[in-house]
C-alpha cells in the first residue's frame, strides 16, 4: 500500500508530547512530587517545540517527493485485530496532515509559551501549574494522533483523547462546580457525536468487507471505496423509507461526529460553556485545533463526500446556518470569551459550508488562517482579561488602549484578519469560500447559501468591531480603584501575540493567495496546489473578474458592518441602549441565545432523568420486579412451604445435599473464627 515511503520520524511527533505528559502524570498523579516550575516549562514547551521542528522536517521530506505521490508512512504495531478487522498503530503524512501537524504543533507551541505567563498570573491556592501543562501535553499528543492517524480507529483514539483533554481543561479549576459541569457537558455532547462516528465506521467497514475488501486505513478505504459508491439501502418505513445511498448514510453518520466536535447545529451547546476553561485552553482547543477536527474529518473523507452529494448538501446547509445563527448570537453577548466562542462556531460553519460545496481546499485554507487569527484573538482577549483581573464582561471595560498597547495592536490585527480586510489572511480564505459557494451549482439552494455567507460576513465585522471598540475605546468603565493597576502583560504573553499577529496579517499573502489577487507572483495558489493531491478540487475555471467582483462585495459588506459598529459604539454610544429597548423581546431572545440550552434541558435531560428515576428505578425495578415479583414469590413460597412441611419432608435430594454442605461449611467457618 505504501506509495511514498517509510518515514520513521513521524512517530516521534506525537510521542514527544506524550512522553512529557506521562512524566508529568507520574510525578503528579502517583508520586505527588511536583517538578520545579522551570523543569515543567522546559519539559512541556520543549516537547511541543521539538514536535514542531520535527513536523517541519517531515514537511520538507514530503515536499521532496513528487507532487502526486506525497505520502509518508510509519507503522508501529497492530493495535486491534480480530477476524477480518485489523487496525494498525500507524501514522500517515500527506499534505493534509502536514498542514494540520504544523498548525497543531506550531500554534500549540506558541500557546504553551503564552501559558507560562498566563498561569503564573493565576493566584489561586491550588494553581496546578504543572497539572495544566500535563493536560496541554496530553492534548497535543492526542491532537497529533488525530491528524496523523493512518486509519479511522486510530483517528478515533485521538478524537476521544482530545475530548478527554477538553473535559479536563474546561474543568481545570475544578473547585468551582460550574467549571466541572461545563467540562462534563462538553464530554457528553461530544459523545453523542462519537456515536455517529462509531456507527459510520462500522457501516463503512462492513460495507467494504461485503464488497470484498474490509478496510479501515484511509488509503485502503479510498482505494476500495468505488466498489460501494453506488450502493443503496432501503430504510424502514418509520424512518421515512425510501432508497438511500449508502455513502450518504455513512457520510451523515460521520458528520454527526464532526458536528459534535466542531460545535455545529444542533450539537454546539457545549462550546460556549467550554469558555469556563483557562483562556489559553480556549485558544488552543476551542478555537485553533480541536474544534477543527470535524472539518478535518470531512476533508479526510472527501472521497466519500464528493460521491455522497446528499450528505454534502446537508453539511453545507448546516454549516451556513450555524455560521449565521452563531453570528447573530455573538452580536448580543457581552462576555468577550463568549463572543469569541460564537465567532468560532460561525467560522467553523464557513468551513463546513465550503466542504459541503466540495471546496475542501478552501475549507482547510480557512481552517489554517482561522487557527492564526482566532488563536490570536483569544490570546489577546486573555491578555485583556489578565489586565483587568479576570473580568470578562466588556460592559465593564473600555478605554483600555492607553494601557495595553501591544495587546490592542495585535487584537486589531486579529479583528482585521477575521473580518477579511484586503490582503490579510482571512480575506483570502473567506473569499475563496464565498467564491466556491457562488459557483457550487450542484448544491441545492446555493444562491441562498451565498447570501447567508455574505450576510454573516457583515455581521462578523459588526460584532468583532463592536467588541474591539467596547474594550479599547470610550471611557474606562472599570472600578476606579482598579484603573491604576491595569498594565500590559509580560513578554511570554506579548511575544506569542506578535508572532500570531504577523501570521494573521501576512500569512495569507505569503503562502496561499489565489492568483487572481497577486498576478506578479509565479507560484500563487501555492496552498491550494499543495493540498490538491489529497483534496479533490472544486474544479472551476474562474475568471479573475468574477473573483474581484465577489471579493469587492464581501469587503464592502464587511466594511459596512465595521462602520455600523463604529457609529453605534464610538460615535453615538447612547444608541445601543435605545435599540435594545426598541427590540425588546427579540433582543432578549438573542441575548439568551434563543434559550436552546433551556430547551434541551426541558425536552431531553429532565424527562430522561424523571423516567429513569421514577418509572424505571423506583417503579419498575424496586417496586415491581423486586418488591412484587421477587419478594412476593419468596413470601408465597414461604407460606406454602409452611403448610407443606407439615405433611412431607421429601424435598429434592439435591437441595438436601446442598443444605448439608452449607451446614458443614457453616460449622467449619464458625470453628475457624
Amino acid at each position: 500500500m505504501s506509495v511514498g515511503g517509510e518515514y520513521d520520524l513521524l512517530r516521534w511527533i506525537p510521542a514527544l508530547p506524550l512522553a512529557a505528559a506521562v512524566i508529568h502524570g507520574l510525578c503528579l498523579g502517583l508520586l505527588r512530587q511536583p517538578l520545579p516550575r522551570i523543569s515543567t516549562i522546559a519539559l512541556s514547551c520543549g516537547a511541543t517545540g521539538l514536535s514542531f521542528v520535527l513536523s517541519f522536517f517531515a514537511l520538507l521530506a514530503l515536499t521532496r517527493l513528487p507532487a502526486e505521490n506525497r505520502v509518508l508512512q510509519d507503522g508501529l504495531f497492530t493495535w486491534i485485530g480480530a477476524g477480518p478487522f485489523s487496525a494498525e498503530a500507524a501514522f500517515l503524512l500527506d499534505p493534509l496532515s502536514a498542514v494540520m501537524i504544523l498548525i497543531v504543533s506550531g500554534v500549540g507551541f506558541l500557546i504553551h509559551v503564552y501559558s507560562i505567563g498566563y498561569m503564573d498570573a493565576d493566584t489561586r491556592e491550588d494553581r496546578g501549574f504543572q497539572r495544566f501543562f500535563a493536560y496541554l501535553n496530553l492534548f497535543t499528543f492526542s491532537m497529533l494522533v488525530l491528524v496523523l492517524a493512518d486509519n479511522l480507529l486510530l483517528m478515533f483514539l485521538g478524537w476521544e483523547g482530545v475530548g478527554l483533554c477538553s473535559y479536563l481543561l474546561i474543568g481545570f479549576w475544578y473547585g468551582d462546580e460550574w467549571n466541572a459541569y461545563c467540562g462534563s457537558k462538553a464530554f457528553i455532547v461530544n459523545r453523542i457525536g462519537d456515536f455517529g462516528f462509531l456507527v459510520g465506521m462500522f457501516l463503512l467497514f462492513w460495507a467494504l468487507q461485503d464488497a470484498g475488501h474490509g478496510a479501515i486505513a484511509f488509503l485502503e478505504i479510498k482505494a476500495a471505496f468505488p466498489a460501494i459508491a453506488d450502493q443503496t439501502v432501503q430504510l424502514p418505513t418509520w424512518l421515512g423509507g425510501g432508497e438511500w445511498m449508502l455513502a450518504t448514510l455513512i457520510g451523515l453518520c460521520f458528520f454527526l461526529g464532526a458536528a459534535g466536535k466542531s460545535a455545529q447545529l444542533p450539537l454546539y451547546v457545549w462550546l460556549p460553556d467550554a469558555m469556563a476553561g483557562p483562556t489559553p485552553v480556549s485558544a488552543l482547543i476551542h478555537a485553533a485545533t480541536m474544534v477543527t477536527a470535524g472539518v478535518y474529518l470531512v476533508c479526510r473523507l472527501s472521497f466519500l463526500y464528493s460521491v455522497a452529494l446528499g450528505a454534502s448538501a446537508i453539511i453545507a446547509w448546516v454549516g451556513a446556518l450555524t455560521a449565521l445563527f452563531a453570528a447573530i448570537i455573538a452580536m448580543a453577548q457581552t462576555d468577550i470569551k463568549k463572543v469569541l466562542a460564537y465567532s468560532t462556531m460561525s467560522q467553523l460553519g464557513y468551513m463546513f459550508l465550503a466542504a459541503g460545496c466540495g471546496a475542501y481546499g478552501a475549507a482547510v485554507w480557512h481552517l489554517t488562517t482561522h487557527a492564526w487569527f482566532k488563536a490570536l484573538l483569544f490570546l489577546a482577549a486573555g491578555s485583556v482579561i489578565l489586565a483587568v483581573h479576570h473580568e470578562q464582561d466588556m460592559d465593564k471595560m473600555g478605554g483600555l488602549q492607553r494601557f495595553l498597547v501591544w495587546t490592542r495592536l495585535t487584537f486589531l490585527a486579529g479583528v482585521l484578519a477575521i473580518v477579511g480586510a484586503p490582503y490579510l489572511s482571512g480575506f483570502f480564505s473567506k473569499d475563496e469560500i464565498l467564491l466556491s459557494v457562488h459557483l457550487a451549482g450542484h448544491v441545492p439552494g446555493h444562491t441562498a447559501l451565498y447570501w447567508i455567507a455574505l450576510i454573516t460576513a457583515g455581521l462578523t465585522a459588526f460584532y468583532m468591531f463592536r467588541m474591539y471598540f467596547r474594550i479599547f475605546f470610550g471611557e474606562c468603565r472599570l472600578p476606579r480603584e482598579q484603573q491604576g493597576s491595569v498594565q500590559e502583560s509580560p513578554r511570554t504573553i506579548t511575544i506569542p501575540l506578535v508572532v500570531l499577529a504577523i501570521l494573521a496579517v501576512a500569512g495569507g499573502v505569503v503562502i496561499g493567495p489565489s492568483d487572481a489577487f497577486i498576478p506578479v507572483i509565479e507560484d500563487a495558489n501555492s496552498f491550494a496546489n499543495f493540498v490538491a493531491p489529497v483534496l479533490p478540487a472544486a474544479g472551476h475555471d474562474v475568471e479573475h473578474g468574477l473573483v474581484w467582483k465577489l471579493a469587492g462585495l464581501t469587503t464592502l459588506v464587511a466594511f459596512l458592518g465595521a462602520v455600523m459598529a463604529y457609529w453605534l459604539y464610538v460615535v453615538r454610544p447612547d444608541h445601543p441602549e435605545k435599540i435594545r429597548r426598541l427590540l425588546g423581546g427579540v433582543f432578549r431572545m438573542v441575548e439568551g441565545r434563543f434559550w436552546i440550552d433551556e430547551l434541551y434541558d426541558y425536552i431531553l435531560v429532565r424527562p430522561l432523568v424523571w423516567i429513569s428515576d421514577r418509572i424505571l428505578y423506583r417503579w419498575l425495578d424496586s417496586r415491581l420486579l423486586d418488591g412484587i415479583v421477587i419478594d412476593g414469590t419468596a413470601r408465597g413460597i414461604r407460606a406454602l412451604a409452611a403448610d407443606m412441611f407439615k405433611y412431607s419432608q421429601s424435598g429434592l435430594v439435591q437441595g438436601y445435599l446442598f443444605l448439608m454442605l452449607v451446614g458443614a461449611l457453616a460449622i467449619i467457618g464458625y470453628l475457624a473464627t
Binding site: G29, L30, R32, F77, I80, A82, G83, F85, D126, L153, F156, L157, E160, G161, L164, Y167, G171, Y174, G175, D176, E177, N179, A180, G183, S184, F187, I188, R191, D194, F195, L198, V199, F202, L203, F205, W206, V609, I611, S612, D613, L616, Y617, D621, L625, D626, V629, I630, A634, L652, Q654, G655, F658, V662, L665, A666, I668, G669, Y670, L671, A672
Partner: protein, 536 residues
C-alpha cells in the same frame, strides 16, 4: 492419562489445600488450648493466593497461543460408571478468565487488609475456598465437575456477604443464594437430560464435554440433541433454555438482575470485587463453553431474545445507574449495562463479537474491581457511600482523584484504556450481525459517559462543602500499590490488546467451528470403529 498432570491441578487446588491445612492446624492448636494467630492465617492466605497467581502466570507462559485444542489437559476417572471425571484443560477463553481470577485474588486480599477485622480466620478460609471454586469452574471440562465447582463457589460467597457485609447483608445473601440456586437446579436437570441422551445414543454415561486427547470415547459434544421430533425435554430449545436461565441469572440479564445491586452493595469490598470481577463472568463463560456449543441450533433461535435482553440491559442499566445516590449501587447497575455488552457480543456468533465479549469480561473484572476498591477506600474514610456526602475530594485526595479518573475513563471506554477494545470489538461484531441492534447498543456508549461522569463530578470536583471531607488523608502506600496493580492491565489491554487477543483467536474460531459442525448434525452419529475416528 491416569496421572494428575501437575500444574493446572495445583493451581486449582492450592488455595483449598492451604485453607484445609490451616483449618487442621487450627483444630490441633485449639485442642491443646491454643490458637493460630490470625496474622498467620492472613499471611498464609495471601501467600497461597500469590503462589496461585505465580503458578497461573506459568500456565500463561506455557500456553501455546497457536494451538487450537485444550492445553494442560488432565483426565482422571472419578466415578467411571457414571462418566464423572476430573477433567480439566485450558483454552484461550479459560486462560484469560483464570488469569483474571488468580490476579484479582491477592489484590483483594491486600486491599482488605485493614477492612476486615472481625472473624479474620473465617474470612481467609472462605476467600481461599472461593478461589478454588472459581478457578475450578473455569477449567472444568466435565459437565458434572463444572456443576460441583459452580455450586462450591456459591457457598463461600454467601458467607462473605452474610457475615462480613453491610447492614442488610442477610437479606442480600439469601437473595443471592436463592436466585443462583433456582438457576442451577434447572441446569442440573438439563445436564442430566443431555447425559441421558448421550447414554441412549452411545450406551455409556459420560459427562465429559469433549473427548480427551488419546481417547476415543464419544463425549457430550458428539451427542445429537434433536431440534424437533422428540419429547420436549430432549429438544435443544428446552435444554438450552434451562442452561441459559442459570447463566442469565449469573450474568445477570434484565429482568433477572435484582439480586445484583443488593449483593454488590451489601458485600464487603473484596466480595464486591470478586462478585463483579469473577462470579458474573461465570454466566458468560457458561454460555460460551457449554450452552452455545452444545445447543447451537437453539442458540441461533434464541439470538433475537438475547439481543433484546442485552439491549434492554445496556439501556436500562445505564439509565437506572444514572439516578442512583449510592455509589456502590451505581456501579452495580453499570455492571448490568456492561454485562449487557458482553451478552450482546456473545450472541453475535462471529469472531469479532465473541473475542470482544471475552475480553470485555476481563476488562469489566479489572475496571469494576478497581471501582469497588476505590469506593471501599472512600468508605473506610467516611463510612458512607452517598454521593451527596462527597464533593471536592480532589483537593484533599489528589492521588485518589487521579487514579479514580483513569478508572472511570476506562469504564466509559476511552481508547488506550481497556474498556474501549472490548466494547469496540463487540459493537463491530454486532454491526455484522444486525446493524440496527448495533446502532442501539452504541447509544450505551453515550449513556456510560453520562452516569460515570456525573458520579465522578459529584464526588471529586466542586468545592469542599462538607467539613468532614476537608481533612481526608490521601491514599497510602498499600492502597496505591493495589490500585497500580490494577492500572497496569488497564493500560496494557488498552495499548496492546494483541497480547490477549492472540490467545483468543484460535479458541474463539474453534468454538464457532464446533457450533457449525453441530448445527449440521441431523441424526445421532453412527459409532465408528474406534481406530478410524479422527482426533479433533
Amino acid at each position: 492419562m491416569t496421572e494428575l498432570p501437575d500444574l493446572l491441578a495445583y493451581v486449582i487446588l492450592l488455595p483449598l489445600a492451604t485453607a484445609m491445612m490451616l483449618l487442621v492446624i487450627e483444630g490441633g492448636a485449639r485442642s491443646i488450648g491454643g490458637s493460630l494467630p490470625s496474622q498467620v492465617w492472613r499471611g498464609l492466605g495471601l501467600g497461597a493466593s500469590l503462589a496461585t497467581c505465580v503458578l497461573t502466570s506459568m500456565l500463561w507462559i506455557g500456553y501455546d497461543p497457536t494451538r487450537i485444542e485444550m492445553q494442560f489437559v488432565a483426565h482422571v476417572a472419578w466415578i467411571p460408571s457414571l462418566g464423572i471425571n476430573w477433567y480439566v484443560g485450558l483454552d484461550g477463553i479459560s486462560l484469560l478468565l483464570m488469569g483474571l481470577t488468580a490476579f484479582l485474588m491477592p489484590v483483594v486480599l491486600v486491599a482488605s487488609w485493614s477492612e476486615i477485622q472481625h472473624s479474620l480466620r473465617g474470612y481467609v478460609f472462605f476467600m481461599l475456598f472461593l478461589e478454588t471454586g472459581m478457578l475450578g469452574t473455569f477449567a472444568s471440562l466435565n459437565l458434572l465437575q463444572f456443576y460441583v465447582f459452580w455450586e462450591l463457589m456459591l457457598v463461600p460467597m454467601v458467607f462473605l456477604i452474610g457475615v462480613w457485609g453491610g447492614p442488610r447483608r442477610i437479606y442480600a445473601a439469601v437473595k443471592f443464594f436463592l436466585f443462583t440456586m433456582v438457576g442451577s437446579l434447572l441446569m442440573l436437570v438439563a445436564l442430566v437430560a443431555i447425559a441421558w441422551l448421550h447414554a441412549e445414543q452411545f450406551g455409556v454415561w459420560n459427562f465429559d464435554l469433549m473427548t480427551p486427547p488419546g481417547s476415543q470415547v464419544p463425549a457430550l459434544l458428539d451427542t445429537f440433541v434433536p431440534v424437533a421430533d422428540a419429547p420436549w425435554w430432549q429438544t435443544q430449545s428446552w435444554l438450552f433454555a434451562a442452561f441459559a436461565l442459570a447463566f442469565a441469572i449469573k450474568v445477570p440479564l434484565v429482568p433477572l438482575h435484582t439480586w445484583l445491586p443488593d449483593a454488590h452493595t451489601e458485600a464487603p469490598t473484596a466480595g464486591s470485587v470478586l462478585l463483579a470481577g469473577v462470579l458474573l463472568k461465570m454466566g458468560g463463560y457458561g454460555f460460551l463453553r457449554f450452552a452455545l456449543p452444545l445447543f447451537p441450533s437453539a442458540a441461533v433461535e434464541f439470538v433475537p431474545l438475547f439481543f433484546g435482553l442485552a439491549l434492554v440491559g445496556i439501556l436500562y442499566g445505564s439509565l437506572v445507574a444514572m439516578v442512583q445516590t449510592d455509589v456502590k449501587r451505581l456501579v452495580a447497575y453499570s455492571s448490568v449495562a456492561h454485562l449487557g455488552f458482553v451478552t450482546l457480543g456473545m450472541f453475535t456468533l462471529n469472531v469479532e463479537g465473541l473475542e470482544g465479549s471475552v475480553l470485555q469480561m476481563v476488562n469489566h473484572g479489572i475496571t469494576t474491581g478497581a471501582l469497588f476498591l476505590l469506593i471501599g477506600m472512600l468508605y473506610e474514610r467516611r463510612h458512607t457511600r452517598e454521593i451527596s456526602e462527597f464533593g471536592g475530594i480532589a483537593k484533599p485526595m489528589p492521588v485518589f482523584a487521579a487514579i479514580f479518573g483513569v478508572v472511570v475513563m476506562a469504564s466509559i471506554g476511552l481508547p488506550l484504556l481497556n474498556g474501549f477494545v472490548g466494547e469496540f470489538l463487540i459493537l463491530l461484531g454486532t454491526f455484522r450481525a444486525n446493524a440496527w441492534v448495533g446502532t442501539i447498543a452504541t447509544l450505551g456508549v453515550v449513556l456510560a459517559a453520562v452516569y460515570m461522569l456525573w458520579m465522578y463530578r459529584r464526588i471529586v470536583f466542586g468545592p469542599v462543602e462538607n467539613p468532614e471531607n476537608r481533612g481526608l488523608i490521601d491514599l497510602g502506600g498499600r492502597e496505591k500499590a493495589v490500585l497500580v496493580a490494577l492500572l497496569i492491565p488497564i493500560f496494557w489491554i488498552g495499548i496492546h490488546p494483541e497480547t490477549f487477543l492472540k490467545r483468543l483467536h484460535p479458541s474463539v474460531r474453534e468454538t464457532l467451528r464446533v457450533m457449525e459442525v453441530r448445527t449440521e448434525l441431523t441424526a445421532p452419529p453412527v459409532p465408528e470403529p474406534p481406530r478410524e475416528r479422527e482426533r479433533r
